[in-house]
Protein backbone atom coordinates (compact mmCIF):
# COMPACT_ATOMS: atom_id res chain seq x y z
CA UNK A 1 0.00 0.00 0.00
CA UNK A 2 1.29 3.41 -0.86
CA UNK A 3 2.05 5.79 1.93
CA UNK A 4 -0.44 8.25 0.48
CA UNK A 5 -3.37 5.84 0.35
CA UNK A 6 -2.59 4.54 3.80
CA UNK A 7 -2.43 8.05 5.16
CA UNK A 8 -5.62 8.98 3.30
CA UNK A 9 -7.49 6.01 4.60
CA UNK A 10 -6.68 6.87 8.22
CA UNK A 11 -7.17 10.55 7.62
CA UNK A 12 -10.56 10.29 5.92
CA UNK A 13 -11.80 7.78 8.46
CA UNK A 14 -10.82 9.81 11.49
CA UNK A 15 -11.95 13.10 9.97
CA UNK A 16 -15.38 11.69 9.19
CA UNK A 17 -15.77 10.23 12.68
CA UNK A 18 -14.74 13.48 14.33
CA UNK A 19 -17.00 15.54 12.13
CA UNK A 20 -19.97 13.27 12.73
CA UNK A 21 -19.34 13.28 16.46
CA UNK A 22 -19.12 17.04 16.42
CA UNK A 23 -22.34 17.23 14.44
CA UNK A 24 -24.07 15.15 17.12
CA UNK A 25 -22.62 17.36 19.85
CA UNK A 26 -23.68 20.46 17.95
CA UNK A 27 -27.16 19.10 17.70
CA UNK A 28 -27.53 18.53 21.40
CA UNK A 29 -25.78 21.69 22.56
CA UNK A 30 -27.60 23.99 20.21
CA UNK A 31 -30.92 22.29 20.89
CA UNK A 32 -30.32 22.62 24.61
CA UNK A 33 -29.36 26.27 24.30
CA UNK A 34 -32.34 27.11 22.15
CA UNK A 35 -34.77 25.26 24.45
CA UNK A 36 -33.29 27.15 27.40
CA UNK A 37 -33.92 30.38 25.50
CA UNK A 38 -37.52 29.29 24.89
CA UNK A 39 -37.88 28.45 28.57
CA UNK A 40 -36.67 31.93 29.50
CA UNK A 41 -39.29 33.43 27.17
CA UNK A 42 -41.91 31.24 28.80
CA UNK A 43 -40.82 32.45 32.25
CA UNK A 44 -41.24 36.05 31.08
CA UNK A 45 -44.75 35.22 29.88
CA UNK A 46 -45.41 33.53 33.21
CA UNK A 47 -44.35 36.65 35.04
CA UNK A 48 -46.64 38.75 32.87
CA UNK A 49 -49.57 36.45 33.66
CA UNK A 50 -48.74 36.56 37.39
CA UNK A 51 -48.42 40.35 37.31
CA UNK A 52 -51.70 40.64 35.43
CA UNK A 53 -53.49 38.45 37.99
CA UNK A 54 -51.95 40.37 40.90
CA UNK A 55 -53.12 43.67 39.45
CA UNK A 56 -56.48 42.74 38.07
CA UNK A 57 -57.41 39.91 40.40
CA UNK A 58 -58.63 38.11 37.35
CA UNK A 59 -57.23 35.90 34.62
CA UNK A 60 -56.15 37.34 31.32
CA UNK A 61 -57.82 36.13 28.17
CA UNK A 62 -56.67 32.87 26.74
CA UNK A 63 -55.24 33.41 23.35
CA UNK A 64 -53.77 31.54 20.49
CA UNK A 65 -51.56 33.59 18.32
CA UNK A 66 -49.56 31.97 15.61
CA UNK A 67 -46.87 30.17 17.50
CA UNK A 68 -47.90 31.25 20.97
CA UNK A 69 -50.72 29.95 23.13
CA UNK A 70 -51.96 30.68 26.59
CA UNK A 71 -54.63 28.48 28.11
CA UNK A 72 -56.32 28.53 31.46
CA UNK A 73 -58.20 25.62 32.92
CA UNK A 74 -59.56 25.10 36.34
CA UNK A 75 -57.04 23.07 38.17
CA UNK A 76 -58.18 19.53 38.95
CA UNK A 77 -56.07 19.65 42.11
CA UNK A 78 -53.69 22.02 43.77
CA UNK A 79 -50.92 19.42 43.70
CA UNK A 80 -49.68 20.29 40.24
CA UNK A 81 -46.03 21.17 40.13
CA UNK A 82 -44.66 23.80 37.88
CA UNK A 83 -42.97 22.06 34.93
CA UNK A 84 -41.49 22.59 31.46
CA UNK A 85 -42.11 20.04 28.73
CA UNK A 86 -42.24 19.58 25.00
CA UNK A 87 -45.58 18.58 23.54
CA UNK A 88 -47.01 17.90 20.12
CA UNK A 89 -50.22 19.73 19.36
CA UNK A 90 -52.34 20.40 16.32
CA UNK A 91 -51.69 23.78 14.85
CA UNK A 92 -54.41 25.33 12.76
CA UNK A 93 -52.12 27.63 10.84
CA UNK A 94 -49.79 24.84 9.81
CA UNK A 95 -52.62 22.32 9.57
CA UNK A 96 -50.48 19.69 11.25
CA UNK A 97 -49.01 18.63 14.55
CA UNK A 98 -46.07 20.73 15.62
CA UNK A 99 -43.86 20.69 18.66
CA UNK A 100 -44.44 23.25 21.39
CA UNK A 101 -42.44 24.10 24.44
CA UNK A 102 -44.88 24.43 27.27
CA UNK A 103 -44.79 25.77 30.82
CA UNK A 104 -47.43 24.49 33.12
CA UNK A 105 -48.11 26.15 36.44
CA UNK A 106 -50.88 26.90 39.03
CA UNK A 107 -52.29 30.30 39.64
CA UNK A 108 -54.94 31.47 42.08
CA UNK A 109 -57.55 33.97 40.94
CA UNK A 110 -60.96 34.67 42.34
CA UNK A 111 -60.14 32.20 45.08
CA UNK A 112 -59.89 29.44 42.57
CA UNK A 113 -56.92 27.54 41.36
CA UNK A 114 -56.22 27.57 37.67
CA UNK A 115 -53.91 25.49 35.67
CA UNK A 116 -52.01 27.66 33.17
CA UNK A 117 -50.37 26.45 29.98
CA UNK A 118 -48.06 28.80 28.17
CA UNK A 119 -46.72 27.41 24.93
CA UNK A 120 -44.33 28.58 22.33
CA UNK A 121 -43.68 26.81 19.05
CA UNK A 122 -40.41 24.94 18.94
CA UNK A 123 -40.55 24.73 15.13
CA UNK A 124 -38.08 27.56 14.54
CA UNK A 125 -35.68 25.93 16.92
CA UNK A 126 -36.00 22.65 15.07
CA UNK A 127 -35.43 24.46 11.78
CA UNK A 128 -32.36 26.10 13.16
CA UNK A 129 -31.00 22.80 14.40
CA UNK A 130 -31.66 21.19 11.05
CA UNK A 131 -29.83 24.02 9.35
CA UNK A 132 -26.88 23.56 11.65
CA UNK A 133 -26.86 19.83 10.91
CA UNK A 134 -27.05 20.43 7.20
CA UNK A 135 -24.17 22.87 7.36
CA UNK A 136 -22.15 20.37 9.34
CA UNK A 137 -22.83 17.58 6.88
CA UNK A 138 -22.02 19.84 3.99
CA UNK A 139 -18.75 20.69 5.73
CA UNK A 140 -17.98 16.97 6.01
CA UNK A 141 -18.60 16.44 2.33
CA UNK A 142 -16.67 19.56 1.37
CA UNK A 143 -13.78 18.48 3.56
CA UNK A 144 -13.69 15.01 2.04
CA UNK A 145 -13.79 16.40 -1.47
CA UNK A 146 -11.08 18.91 -0.72
CA UNK A 147 -8.94 16.23 0.95
CA UNK A 148 -9.36 14.06 -2.11
CA UNK A 149 -8.40 16.89 -4.43
CA UNK A 150 -5.47 17.94 -2.29
CA UNK A 151 -4.20 14.39 -2.15
CA UNK A 152 -4.64 13.94 -5.82
CA UNK A 153 -3.00 17.07 -7.02
CA UNK A 154 -1.14 18.86 -4.32
CA UNK A 155 0.39 15.86 -2.58
CA UNK A 156 1.48 14.39 -5.88
CA UNK A 157 3.31 17.61 -6.52
CA UNK A 158 4.68 17.68 -2.99
CA UNK A 159 6.03 14.15 -3.36
CA UNK A 160 7.59 14.87 -6.71
CA UNK A 161 11.10 15.47 -5.32
CA UNK A 162 10.84 12.13 -3.53
CA UNK A 163 9.82 10.34 -6.71
CA UNK A 164 12.64 12.01 -8.61
CA UNK A 165 15.10 10.84 -5.98
CA UNK A 166 13.67 7.34 -6.11
CA UNK A 167 13.91 7.19 -9.89
CA UNK A 168 17.54 8.33 -9.74
CA UNK A 169 18.37 5.75 -7.11
CA UNK A 170 16.79 3.02 -9.22
CA UNK A 171 18.96 4.03 -12.13
CA UNK A 172 22.07 4.28 -10.02
CA UNK A 173 24.71 2.03 -11.49
CA UNK A 174 28.01 1.67 -9.75
CA UNK A 175 29.98 0.53 -12.75
CA UNK A 176 28.32 3.15 -14.93
CA UNK A 177 30.41 5.71 -13.14
CA UNK A 178 27.47 8.09 -13.04
CA UNK A 179 26.83 10.12 -9.94
CA UNK A 180 23.37 10.66 -8.57
CA UNK A 181 22.57 14.33 -8.99
CA UNK A 182 19.75 15.35 -6.68
CA UNK A 183 18.15 18.76 -6.76
CA UNK A 184 17.44 20.59 -3.58
CA UNK A 185 13.84 20.68 -2.54
CA UNK A 186 12.18 23.44 -0.49
CA UNK A 187 10.90 20.72 1.83
CA UNK A 188 13.29 19.98 4.66
CA UNK A 189 12.60 16.23 4.78
CA UNK A 190 13.38 15.78 1.12
CA UNK A 191 16.45 17.96 1.29
CA UNK A 192 17.62 15.80 4.16
CA UNK A 193 16.82 12.63 2.23
CA UNK A 194 18.66 13.87 -0.84
CA UNK A 195 21.61 14.83 1.29
CA UNK A 196 21.71 11.38 2.85
CA UNK A 197 21.34 9.70 -0.55
CA UNK A 198 24.15 11.80 -1.94
CA UNK A 199 26.41 10.94 0.95
CA UNK A 200 25.51 7.27 0.69
CA UNK A 201 25.99 6.95 -3.07
CA UNK A 202 29.28 8.79 -2.85
CA UNK A 203 30.46 6.46 -0.13
CA UNK A 204 29.25 3.39 -2.01
CA UNK A 205 30.98 4.57 -5.17
CA UNK A 206 34.12 5.17 -3.20
CA UNK A 207 33.96 1.73 -1.59
CA UNK A 208 33.24 0.18 -4.95
CA UNK A 209 36.24 1.90 -6.48
CA UNK A 210 38.37 0.71 -3.61
CA UNK A 211 37.21 -2.87 -4.05
CA UNK A 212 37.75 -2.61 -7.77
CA UNK A 213 41.24 -1.30 -7.22
CA UNK A 214 41.82 -3.99 -4.65
CA UNK A 215 40.72 -6.67 -7.11
CA UNK A 216 43.03 -5.29 -9.76
CA UNK A 217 45.89 -4.87 -7.35
CA UNK A 218 45.37 -8.34 -5.93
CA UNK A 219 45.50 -9.77 -9.42
CA UNK A 220 48.60 -7.74 -10.11
CA UNK A 221 50.25 -8.89 -6.92
CA UNK A 222 49.48 -12.53 -7.62
CA UNK A 223 50.20 -12.55 -11.35
CA UNK A 224 53.65 -11.05 -11.04
CA UNK A 225 55.15 -13.68 -8.73
CA UNK A 226 53.44 -16.31 -10.87
CA UNK A 227 55.09 -14.78 -13.92
CA UNK A 228 58.44 -15.00 -12.15
CA UNK A 229 57.88 -18.63 -11.16
CA UNK A 230 56.81 -19.58 -14.67
CA UNK A 231 59.69 -17.79 -16.33
CA UNK A 232 62.26 -19.31 -13.98
CA UNK A 233 60.84 -22.76 -14.61
CA UNK A 234 60.90 -22.18 -18.34
CA UNK A 235 64.55 -21.16 -18.07
CA UNK A 236 65.28 -24.13 -15.84
CA UNK A 237 63.67 -26.47 -18.35
CA UNK A 238 66.16 -25.23 -20.96
CA UNK A 239 69.06 -26.64 -18.99
CA UNK A 240 70.86 -29.54 -20.51
CA UNK A 241 71.57 -32.64 -18.47
CA UNK A 242 68.30 -32.65 -16.58
CA UNK A 243 67.38 -36.00 -15.16
CA UNK A 244 64.02 -37.46 -16.03
CA UNK A 245 62.90 -37.09 -12.43
CA UNK A 246 63.85 -33.42 -12.35
CA UNK A 247 62.05 -32.80 -15.62
CA UNK A 248 58.91 -34.35 -14.18
CA UNK A 249 59.19 -32.17 -11.11
CA UNK A 250 59.66 -29.04 -13.18
CA UNK A 251 56.70 -29.98 -15.32
CA UNK A 252 54.50 -30.56 -12.24
CA UNK A 253 55.37 -27.17 -10.78
CA UNK A 254 54.83 -25.65 -14.18
CA UNK A 255 51.37 -27.17 -14.49
CA UNK A 256 50.42 -26.13 -10.98
CA UNK A 257 51.61 -22.58 -11.58
CA UNK A 258 49.73 -22.47 -14.83
CA UNK A 259 46.52 -23.65 -13.19
CA UNK A 260 46.91 -21.15 -10.41
CA UNK A 261 47.32 -18.35 -12.93
CA UNK A 262 44.29 -19.44 -14.94
CA UNK A 263 42.25 -19.85 -11.77
CA UNK A 264 43.20 -16.39 -10.66
CA UNK A 265 42.26 -14.95 -14.03
CA UNK A 266 38.93 -16.76 -14.02
CA UNK A 267 38.08 -15.56 -10.53
CA UNK A 268 38.97 -12.02 -11.49
CA UNK A 269 36.77 -12.35 -14.56
CA UNK A 270 33.87 -13.63 -12.43
CA UNK A 271 34.31 -10.76 -9.99
CA UNK A 272 34.38 -8.29 -12.84
CA UNK A 273 31.18 -9.68 -14.30
CA UNK A 274 29.62 -9.65 -10.82
CA UNK A 275 30.62 -6.05 -10.43
CA UNK A 276 29.22 -5.30 -13.87
CA UNK A 277 32.50 -3.80 -14.92
CA UNK A 278 31.92 -4.63 -18.55
CA UNK A 279 30.32 -1.60 -20.04
CA UNK A 280 28.19 -2.10 -23.06
CA UNK A 281 29.21 -0.40 -26.28
CA UNK A 282 26.32 -1.51 -28.47
CA UNK A 283 25.20 -4.64 -30.27
CA UNK A 284 27.80 -6.85 -31.90
CA UNK A 285 27.58 -9.40 -34.67
CA UNK A 286 27.39 -12.59 -32.64
CA UNK A 287 27.49 -14.74 -35.78
CA UNK A 288 30.99 -13.46 -36.51
CA UNK A 289 32.11 -14.40 -33.00
CA UNK A 290 30.79 -17.95 -33.41
CA UNK A 291 32.35 -18.27 -36.85
CA UNK A 292 35.69 -17.03 -35.53
CA UNK A 293 35.81 -19.66 -32.81
CA UNK A 294 34.64 -22.45 -35.11
CA UNK A 295 37.40 -21.53 -37.55
CA UNK A 296 39.92 -21.53 -34.74
CA UNK A 297 39.07 -25.11 -33.83
CA UNK A 298 38.45 -26.37 -37.34
CA UNK A 299 41.68 -28.32 -37.63
CA UNK A 300 41.50 -29.54 -34.09
CA UNK A 301 38.11 -31.18 -34.51
CA UNK A 302 39.16 -32.58 -37.86
CA UNK A 303 42.20 -34.13 -36.22
CA UNK A 304 40.02 -35.67 -33.55
CA UNK A 305 37.66 -36.93 -36.26
CA UNK A 306 34.76 -35.07 -34.74
CA UNK A 307 31.87 -34.36 -37.10
CA UNK A 308 30.86 -30.73 -36.78
CA UNK A 309 27.57 -29.47 -38.13
CA UNK A 310 27.07 -25.76 -37.99
CA UNK A 311 23.77 -24.05 -38.47
CA UNK A 312 24.73 -20.46 -37.99
CA UNK A 313 22.36 -17.74 -39.06
CA UNK A 314 24.30 -14.76 -40.37
CA UNK A 315 24.12 -11.27 -38.95
CA UNK A 316 22.70 -12.12 -35.54
CA UNK A 317 23.02 -8.90 -33.59
CA UNK A 318 23.32 -9.23 -29.85
CA UNK A 319 23.74 -6.69 -27.10
CA UNK A 320 26.73 -8.19 -25.34
CA UNK A 321 30.24 -7.04 -24.55
CA UNK A 322 32.63 -8.28 -27.21
CA UNK A 323 35.06 -9.87 -24.77
CA UNK A 324 32.31 -11.61 -22.85
CA UNK A 325 30.87 -12.93 -26.11
CA UNK A 326 34.33 -14.33 -26.86
CA UNK A 327 34.63 -15.95 -23.47
CA UNK A 328 31.11 -17.37 -23.68
CA UNK A 329 31.49 -18.96 -27.11
CA UNK A 330 35.04 -20.13 -26.43
CA UNK A 331 34.03 -21.78 -23.14
CA UNK A 332 31.12 -23.66 -24.67
CA UNK A 333 33.01 -24.73 -27.78
CA UNK A 334 36.15 -25.85 -25.93
CA UNK A 335 33.95 -27.79 -23.52
CA UNK A 336 32.21 -29.51 -26.43
CA UNK A 337 35.61 -30.49 -27.88
CA UNK A 338 37.30 -31.47 -24.63
CA UNK A 339 34.48 -33.59 -23.31
CA UNK A 340 33.83 -35.22 -26.63
CA UNK A 341 34.58 -38.78 -27.62
CA UNK A 342 36.68 -40.08 -30.50
CA UNK A 343 34.69 -39.77 -33.77
CA UNK A 344 31.94 -37.92 -31.94
CA UNK A 345 29.78 -35.08 -33.15
CA UNK A 346 29.29 -31.43 -32.33
CA UNK A 347 26.40 -29.40 -33.58
CA UNK A 348 26.22 -25.66 -33.26
CA UNK A 349 23.04 -23.71 -33.87
CA UNK A 350 22.68 -19.97 -33.85
CA UNK A 351 19.48 -18.10 -34.58
CA UNK A 352 18.36 -14.67 -33.50
CA UNK A 353 16.66 -16.33 -30.51
CA UNK A 354 19.08 -18.96 -29.34
CA UNK A 355 22.57 -20.37 -29.41
CA UNK A 356 23.04 -24.01 -28.68
CA UNK A 357 25.99 -26.36 -28.57
CA UNK A 358 25.43 -30.13 -28.56
CA UNK A 359 28.10 -32.73 -28.32
CA UNK A 360 28.46 -36.43 -27.86
CA UNK A 361 30.12 -37.51 -24.65
CA UNK A 362 29.99 -39.68 -21.60
CA UNK A 363 26.91 -39.11 -19.43
CA UNK A 364 27.42 -36.83 -16.45
CA UNK A 365 28.44 -38.53 -13.25
CA UNK A 366 26.80 -35.89 -11.10
CA UNK A 367 23.59 -33.94 -10.83
CA UNK A 368 23.09 -31.75 -13.93
CA UNK A 369 21.77 -29.03 -11.63
CA UNK A 370 25.28 -28.66 -10.24
CA UNK A 371 26.77 -28.27 -13.67
CA UNK A 372 26.91 -24.48 -13.55
CA UNK A 373 28.27 -24.31 -10.03
CA UNK A 374 31.78 -23.10 -9.39
CA UNK A 375 34.44 -25.79 -9.21
CA UNK A 376 32.20 -28.52 -10.52
CA UNK A 377 34.11 -30.72 -12.87
CA UNK A 378 33.40 -33.81 -14.83
CA UNK A 379 35.60 -36.85 -14.45
CA UNK A 380 37.25 -36.41 -17.85
CA UNK A 381 39.05 -33.16 -17.27
CA UNK A 382 40.98 -33.16 -14.08
CA UNK A 383 43.05 -30.42 -15.62
CA UNK A 384 40.27 -27.91 -16.11
CA UNK A 385 39.15 -25.75 -13.26
CA UNK A 386 35.43 -26.30 -13.49
CA UNK A 387 34.88 -22.59 -13.82
CA UNK A 388 34.10 -22.45 -17.52
CA UNK A 389 30.38 -23.12 -17.28
CA UNK A 390 30.04 -21.05 -14.17
CA UNK A 391 31.53 -18.11 -16.06
CA UNK A 392 29.20 -18.83 -18.99
CA UNK A 393 26.24 -18.79 -16.63
CA UNK A 394 27.39 -15.58 -15.00
CA UNK A 395 27.66 -13.92 -18.42
CA UNK A 396 24.15 -15.12 -19.31
CA UNK A 397 22.77 -13.77 -16.05
CA UNK A 398 24.35 -10.44 -16.79
CA UNK A 399 22.38 -10.17 -20.04
CA UNK A 400 19.20 -11.96 -18.92
CA UNK A 401 19.86 -14.92 -21.18
CA UNK A 402 18.48 -18.31 -20.17
CA UNK A 403 21.14 -21.00 -20.12
CA UNK A 404 20.01 -24.61 -19.81
CA UNK A 405 21.59 -28.02 -19.98
CA UNK A 406 19.94 -31.16 -21.25
CA UNK A 407 21.06 -34.67 -22.05
CA UNK A 408 19.18 -36.77 -24.55
CA UNK A 409 20.10 -39.42 -27.11
CA UNK A 410 23.72 -39.42 -25.88
CA UNK A 411 23.95 -35.70 -26.65
CA UNK A 412 24.87 -33.05 -24.13
CA UNK A 413 23.21 -29.79 -25.10
CA UNK A 414 23.81 -26.38 -23.68
CA UNK A 415 21.24 -23.95 -24.94
CA UNK A 416 21.17 -20.21 -24.44
CA UNK A 417 17.89 -18.42 -25.05
CA UNK A 418 18.43 -14.75 -25.74
CA UNK A 419 16.14 -12.21 -24.28
CA UNK A 420 13.52 -11.35 -26.87
CA UNK A 421 14.04 -7.68 -26.21
CA UNK A 422 17.71 -7.97 -26.90
Amino acid sequence: MRLLSKYNRVNVFSTTIVLLLSAICYYFFIRNALVKQLDKDLIIEEREVLDFVKENKTLPESYVYKDEQEEFHPAPSSAITRSFSSVELFNVTHGENITYRQLRFIISADGKNYEVFIRKSQEETEDLIQLVLKITLLTVVALLVSLFLVNRFLLRKLWEPFNTTLAQMKQFNLSGGTQVVLENSDIDEFTELNGAVNVMTNRVSQDFDEIKNFTENASHEIQTPLAIINSKLELLSQSENLKEEQMNTIQSIFEAGHRLAKLNQSLILLTKIDNKQFRQNGPIDFSLVVHKHMDNFEELVAAKQIMVSCNIENGVQLLIHENLADVLVSNLVTNAIKHNIEKGTISITLTSNEFSVSNTGEPLDHDPAELFERFRKGRVSSESQGLGLSIAKKICEQYNFQITYSYADLLHTIKIMFNENA
Binding site: S219, K232, E255, K338
Partner: protein, 222 residues
Protein backbone atom coordinates in the same frame (compact mmCIF):
# COMPACT_ATOMS: atom_id res chain seq x y z
CA UNK B 1 68.77 -6.44 -32.19
CA UNK B 2 68.10 -4.30 -29.19
CA UNK B 3 65.35 -4.81 -26.74
CA UNK B 4 64.46 -2.53 -23.83
CA UNK B 5 62.76 -4.23 -20.93
CA UNK B 6 60.76 -1.74 -18.87
CA UNK B 7 59.80 -3.81 -15.86
CA UNK B 8 60.29 -3.20 -12.15
CA UNK B 9 60.41 -6.88 -11.18
CA UNK B 10 64.09 -7.58 -11.58
CA UNK B 11 63.68 -11.34 -11.40
CA UNK B 12 61.25 -11.28 -14.26
CA UNK B 13 63.30 -8.99 -16.47
CA UNK B 14 66.35 -11.17 -15.77
CA UNK B 15 64.47 -14.26 -16.91
CA UNK B 16 63.27 -12.51 -20.04
CA UNK B 17 66.76 -11.26 -20.87
CA UNK B 18 68.27 -14.65 -20.22
CA UNK B 19 65.75 -16.33 -22.54
CA UNK B 20 66.10 -13.72 -25.27
CA UNK B 21 69.88 -13.64 -25.16
CA UNK B 22 70.20 -16.86 -27.11
CA UNK B 23 68.09 -15.35 -29.90
CA UNK B 24 70.90 -12.79 -30.23
CA UNK B 25 68.88 -10.01 -28.76
CA UNK B 26 70.71 -7.44 -26.70
CA UNK B 27 68.61 -6.54 -23.69
CA UNK B 28 68.69 -3.36 -21.67
CA UNK B 29 66.73 -2.71 -18.53
CA UNK B 30 64.77 0.14 -17.06
CA UNK B 31 63.16 -0.42 -13.71
CA UNK B 32 61.49 2.92 -13.28
CA UNK B 33 59.59 5.51 -15.25
CA UNK B 34 62.41 8.04 -15.30
CA UNK B 35 65.08 5.59 -16.27
CA UNK B 36 62.87 4.30 -19.05
CA UNK B 37 62.16 7.83 -20.27
CA UNK B 38 65.86 8.59 -20.34
CA UNK B 39 66.60 5.45 -22.35
CA UNK B 40 63.87 5.88 -24.94
CA UNK B 41 64.89 9.45 -25.51
CA UNK B 42 68.54 8.55 -26.02
CA UNK B 43 68.40 5.30 -27.94
CA UNK B 44 66.37 3.43 -30.50
CA UNK B 45 65.24 -0.10 -29.86
CA UNK B 46 63.81 -2.75 -32.11
CA UNK B 47 61.27 -3.63 -29.50
CA UNK B 48 60.30 -2.28 -26.10
CA UNK B 49 58.68 -4.53 -23.52
CA UNK B 50 56.52 -2.22 -21.50
CA UNK B 51 55.01 -2.95 -18.13
CA UNK B 52 52.10 -0.60 -17.45
CA UNK B 53 52.57 -0.41 -13.71
CA UNK B 54 56.07 0.81 -13.02
CA UNK B 55 57.35 3.00 -10.22
CA UNK B 56 57.33 6.70 -10.95
CA UNK B 57 54.60 6.81 -13.57
CA UNK B 58 52.36 4.92 -15.93
CA UNK B 59 53.68 2.83 -18.79
CA UNK B 60 50.95 4.29 -20.94
CA UNK B 61 52.49 7.70 -20.42
CA UNK B 62 55.78 6.36 -21.77
CA UNK B 63 53.95 5.01 -24.77
CA UNK B 64 52.48 8.44 -25.37
CA UNK B 65 55.96 9.92 -25.10
CA UNK B 66 57.32 7.45 -27.65
CA UNK B 67 54.58 8.13 -30.15
CA UNK B 68 54.79 11.89 -29.80
CA UNK B 69 58.52 11.67 -30.52
CA UNK B 70 57.73 9.67 -33.67
CA UNK B 71 59.82 6.79 -32.46
CA UNK B 72 59.46 3.68 -34.54
CA UNK B 73 60.32 1.23 -31.78
CA UNK B 74 57.96 -1.71 -31.59
CA UNK B 75 56.10 -1.82 -28.30
CA UNK B 76 54.84 -4.93 -26.57
CA UNK B 77 52.85 -4.23 -23.43
CA UNK B 78 53.29 -6.79 -20.69
CA UNK B 79 50.81 -6.20 -17.93
CA UNK B 80 49.66 -8.07 -14.90
CA UNK B 81 46.40 -6.24 -14.95
CA UNK B 82 44.82 -8.07 -17.87
CA UNK B 83 42.44 -5.19 -17.78
CA UNK B 84 40.49 -4.66 -20.95
CA UNK B 85 40.62 -0.91 -20.68
CA UNK B 86 44.43 -0.96 -20.46
CA UNK B 87 44.62 -3.35 -23.37
CA UNK B 88 42.34 -1.31 -25.59
CA UNK B 89 43.96 1.97 -24.57
CA UNK B 90 47.43 0.56 -25.11
CA UNK B 91 46.68 -0.78 -28.56
CA UNK B 92 44.88 2.35 -29.71
CA UNK B 93 47.78 4.42 -28.44
CA UNK B 94 50.01 2.59 -30.85
CA UNK B 95 51.37 -0.41 -28.97
CA UNK B 96 51.96 -3.35 -31.29
CA UNK B 97 50.81 -6.12 -29.02
CA UNK B 98 49.63 -6.91 -25.53
CA UNK B 99 50.56 -9.86 -23.38
CA UNK B 100 49.22 -10.39 -19.89
CA UNK B 101 51.24 -11.86 -17.07
CA UNK B 102 51.99 -14.59 -16.43
CA UNK B 103 53.13 -15.50 -19.92
CA UNK B 104 55.31 -18.17 -21.43
CA UNK B 105 58.75 -16.92 -22.38
CA UNK B 106 58.34 -18.83 -25.64
CA UNK B 107 55.16 -16.88 -26.37
CA UNK B 108 56.92 -13.61 -25.52
CA UNK B 109 59.79 -14.49 -27.79
CA UNK B 110 57.44 -15.36 -30.66
CA UNK B 111 55.51 -12.11 -30.21
CA UNK B 112 58.71 -10.06 -30.18
CA UNK B 113 59.89 -11.80 -33.31
CA UNK B 114 56.55 -11.09 -34.97
CA UNK B 115 56.70 -7.40 -34.05
CA UNK B 116 60.22 -7.04 -35.36
CA UNK B 117 59.26 -8.84 -38.56
CA UNK B 118 56.22 -6.62 -39.00
CA UNK B 119 58.28 -3.50 -38.39
CA UNK B 120 60.60 -4.94 -41.00
CA UNK B 121 63.60 -2.99 -39.77
CA UNK B 122 65.93 -5.39 -41.48
CA UNK B 123 64.06 -5.66 -44.74
CA UNK B 124 63.68 -9.36 -44.50
CA UNK B 125 60.50 -11.39 -44.46
CA UNK B 126 62.27 -14.67 -44.86
CA UNK B 127 62.99 -16.87 -41.87
CA UNK B 128 65.46 -19.61 -42.42
CA UNK B 129 66.25 -22.72 -40.46
CA UNK B 130 68.53 -25.14 -42.23
CA UNK B 131 66.62 -26.26 -45.30
CA UNK B 132 63.34 -24.72 -44.14
CA UNK B 133 62.39 -21.30 -45.43
CA UNK B 134 59.39 -19.31 -44.29
CA UNK B 135 58.13 -16.27 -46.13
CA UNK B 136 56.25 -14.64 -43.29
CA UNK B 137 54.59 -12.10 -45.54
CA UNK B 138 53.14 -14.61 -47.96
CA UNK B 139 52.81 -17.28 -45.27
CA UNK B 140 54.62 -19.62 -47.57
CA UNK B 141 56.94 -22.44 -46.48
CA UNK B 142 59.50 -24.20 -48.61
CA UNK B 143 61.88 -27.04 -47.88
CA UNK B 144 64.78 -27.28 -50.27
CA UNK B 145 62.87 -24.88 -52.52
CA UNK B 146 59.88 -27.14 -52.65
CA UNK B 147 56.64 -25.68 -51.40
CA UNK B 148 55.09 -27.26 -48.36
CA UNK B 149 51.31 -27.50 -48.02
CA UNK B 150 50.65 -26.66 -44.39
CA UNK B 151 47.35 -26.07 -42.68
CA UNK B 152 46.96 -22.79 -40.81
CA UNK B 153 47.67 -24.29 -37.41
CA UNK B 154 50.63 -26.27 -38.73
CA UNK B 155 52.06 -23.07 -40.16
CA UNK B 156 51.56 -21.26 -36.84
CA UNK B 157 53.17 -24.18 -35.04
CA UNK B 158 56.21 -24.17 -37.33
CA UNK B 159 56.62 -20.43 -36.97
CA UNK B 160 56.36 -20.79 -33.20
CA UNK B 161 59.01 -23.50 -33.20
CA UNK B 162 61.37 -21.44 -35.35
CA UNK B 163 60.85 -18.36 -33.16
CA UNK B 164 61.91 -20.56 -30.26
CA UNK B 165 64.41 -22.81 -31.90
CA UNK B 166 66.64 -24.93 -29.73
CA UNK B 167 64.29 -24.31 -26.78
CA UNK B 168 62.12 -26.61 -24.83
CA UNK B 169 58.57 -25.38 -25.35
CA UNK B 170 55.94 -26.63 -22.97
CA UNK B 171 52.80 -28.25 -24.29
CA UNK B 172 50.64 -25.70 -22.53
CA UNK B 173 52.51 -22.88 -24.23
CA UNK B 174 51.86 -24.50 -27.60
CA UNK B 175 48.18 -25.15 -26.82
CA UNK B 176 47.68 -21.59 -25.70
CA UNK B 177 49.50 -20.22 -28.71
CA UNK B 178 47.42 -22.25 -31.14
CA UNK B 179 43.96 -21.97 -29.63
CA UNK B 180 44.07 -19.41 -26.89
CA UNK B 181 42.78 -20.05 -23.40
CA UNK B 182 40.91 -23.17 -22.56
CA UNK B 183 42.63 -25.94 -24.47
CA UNK B 184 45.54 -26.45 -22.12
CA UNK B 185 45.93 -29.88 -20.69
CA UNK B 186 44.58 -31.54 -23.81
CA UNK B 187 47.93 -32.72 -25.02
CA UNK B 188 46.63 -35.25 -27.49
CA UNK B 189 45.33 -32.36 -29.59
CA UNK B 190 48.82 -30.88 -29.91
CA UNK B 191 50.26 -34.25 -30.58
CA UNK B 192 48.12 -34.70 -33.70
CA UNK B 193 49.31 -31.41 -35.16
CA UNK B 194 52.95 -32.08 -34.32
CA UNK B 195 52.75 -35.51 -35.85
CA UNK B 196 51.34 -34.09 -39.10
CA UNK B 197 53.84 -31.23 -39.26
CA UNK B 198 56.73 -33.56 -38.63
CA UNK B 199 55.53 -35.93 -41.32
CA UNK B 200 55.17 -33.13 -43.88
CA UNK B 201 58.65 -31.78 -43.10
CA UNK B 202 60.28 -35.18 -43.37
CA UNK B 203 58.38 -36.04 -46.55
CA UNK B 204 59.69 -32.82 -48.07
CA UNK B 205 63.23 -33.91 -47.33
CA UNK B 206 63.99 -32.05 -44.15
CA UNK B 207 65.60 -33.89 -41.28
CA UNK B 208 63.41 -34.45 -38.21
CA UNK B 209 63.92 -31.31 -36.14
CA UNK B 210 61.08 -31.81 -33.69
CA UNK B 211 62.25 -33.59 -30.61
CA UNK B 212 59.95 -34.61 -27.82
CA UNK B 213 61.37 -33.73 -24.42
CA UNK B 214 60.18 -36.19 -21.89
CA UNK B 215 57.45 -34.85 -19.65
CA UNK B 216 57.95 -31.26 -20.65
CA UNK B 217 57.20 -30.55 -24.26
CA UNK B 218 58.98 -30.22 -27.55
CA UNK B 219 62.18 -28.79 -28.87
CA UNK B 220 62.95 -27.67 -32.41
CA UNK B 221 66.65 -28.40 -32.82
CA UNK B 222 69.28 -28.97 -35.44
Amino acid sequence: MKILIIEDEKELSDSIASYLKSENYICEFAGSFHKALEKIELYDYDCILLDITIPGGSGLKLLEELKSNNKLDGVLIISAKNSLEDKVTGLTMGADDYLSKPFHLSELSARIAAIIRRKNFHGNDILKFHSIQIDTRAKYVTVKNRQLELTRKEYELLLYFISNKKRVISKNAIAEHLWGDGMEGSNDFIYTHIKNLRKKLIDAGSPDHIRSVYGMGYKFSD
